[in-house]
Point group: C2
Chain length 251, copies 2
């Protein structure tokens, strides 16, 4: 029922679509997606986030807007706005009856729901629309990428599972969809002692630097484990986090 | 083909079976299983580990024995021995052709493979046989528990997802199988700065202490994030890790 034409119309006034993927769950992909959105918002850009992580939708919770609801207007589904920066947010979480979704997401079902959201959400005019993908490099994120066709992909890993394999697989996926990996984020890479400033690569120094150089990924950053970040995301107040790790993001 | 009688015979000379489960993957369940086995081995006990985590079999890798192979003798499959403490190890990893297993494990398949291993592995005489379960509290670990019927269950969580829900669910699962949760391990709970000794609950203070008291779980421990532990497990040299977090384990 939702046609390619519907989707094309909805995304016509979105200047740049970026997808955020990960090697596996729990590496901080949703948190990084939020931080990247805030980076753009701080520069005065119009930003939206589509929470396509159907298995574990957490964008609304991170921004503290899980109690809000998208409004169905004549022009389509109006996204929810974040409190501080007015980032437009759409997530299946707004439509799930409870926190625990018993749905088992398979490829065709994901594709159908993606098209529904893409065809009905009225984003208006945006400089950036970020897509928080399902975790991993398997069918689910691939299905979302095929529907979205982003201008670029950002890969989030932890130092432990930042292996050449994940980066190569992400690059292959991106190339198969005629897009590119534009950024590599090594999350929870080190810890800085608040008392004496000592930095430790808690899970060992990751290979992100080498790999981004080898594959000519234009942007690479190591994000430390920061208890403040954990606390703010848990409280749904990520917009209060001051550090901008994406200061030199090229897009 | 493997009968309940076969399994009963194999486990007759195993004094105590303990299963190790987790709230979700990546919290360090396999690492904790290995540390508990080493705790018993250091006390001169005979110990075995059955790596029932079919999705992500990592016990052989943690002990650095993934290149060894179980020997099929007349008496049955002889487990592989760890280098330092002679802990007996059995894992499906020894039989997988490569590191990436494309198999999608469903309940009946897991049960069948479990019975095969349980009915054919010659453990000999053991004081403790530990079972590293598939992660989570869903069908896969439940299926393994039903085949094993352990004397006790140890639950591993991280401070972030140590919720009453996971503990309650684990207790229900244990009770449904007429066993009990004998230990709660909150892993990667805090970090101690090697330079100044400052301790920080990186992901926030967990609720493990409250929950183990509330549900009368006999053993509770918070294990810090220790880069030495990460390094040794990555190198397959966990037996070189000196700290024993299970010093006061009651069994
Ligand atoms: N750099 C970081 N420092 C501290 N905590 C972090 C960091 N990145 C993520 N977290 C925490 O880790 C948890 C998992 O992050 P999340 O973004 O939900 O992961 P994913 O989307 O990959 O499953 C969250 O509770 C979040 O607060
Ligand atoms: N207390 C700890 N300190 C540092 N690293 C840890 C700790 N516990 C586990 N790890 C590391 O975390 C990773 C995941 O642990 P693992 O035992 O494989 O988790 P699971 O079995 O729950 O998936 C491993 O690389 C391991 O070395
Ligand atoms: Zn310090």
């Amino acid at each position: 029922r939702v046609t390619d034409e519907d989707i094309k119309k909805r995304l016509e006034r979105v200047k740049c679509k970026l997808a955020v993927m990960s090697g596996k769950g729990g590496v901080g992909k949703s948190t990084v997606t939020a931080l990247l959105a805030i980076h753009f918002a701080k520069k005065g850009k119009k930003v939206g986030i589509f929470d396509a992580d159907f298995l574990g939708p957490s964008i609304p919770k991170i921004f503290g807007v899980e109690r809000k609801r998208p409004v169905l207007r004549e022009e389509g589904l109006e996204p929810v706005y974040s409190d501080r920066y007015g980032i437009k947010i759409m997530s299946i979480q707004f439509f799930l009856p409870s926190r625990e979704s018993p749905v088992i997401w398979r490829g065709p079902l994901i594709a159908g729901v993606m098209r529904d959201f893409l065809g009905r959400t009225d984003w208006g005019e945006l400089d950036y629309l970020l897509f928080d993908l399902p975790p991993g490099t398997g069918d689910a994120p691939l299905t979302v990428l095929q529907e979205v066709k982003p201008e670029g992909v950002v890969v989030v890993t932890s130092p432990q599972d930042l292996t050449a394999m994940i980066v190569e697989k992400s690059i292959k996926m991106a190339e198969s969809l005629e897009t590119a990996v534009v950024g590599l984020v090594e999350n929870m890479s080190y810890y800085e002692c608040p008392q004496c400033g000592h930095r430790e690569f808690i899970f060992g120094k990751g290979k992100g630097g080498e790999l981004s150089a080898k594959y000519r990924i234009p942007f690479f950053v190591e994000i430390p484990i920061d208890p403040n970040l954990t606390k703010l995301t848990d409280m749904g107040k990520i917009e209060a986090y001051e550090v901008d790790f994406f200061e030199f993001f090229p897009l």
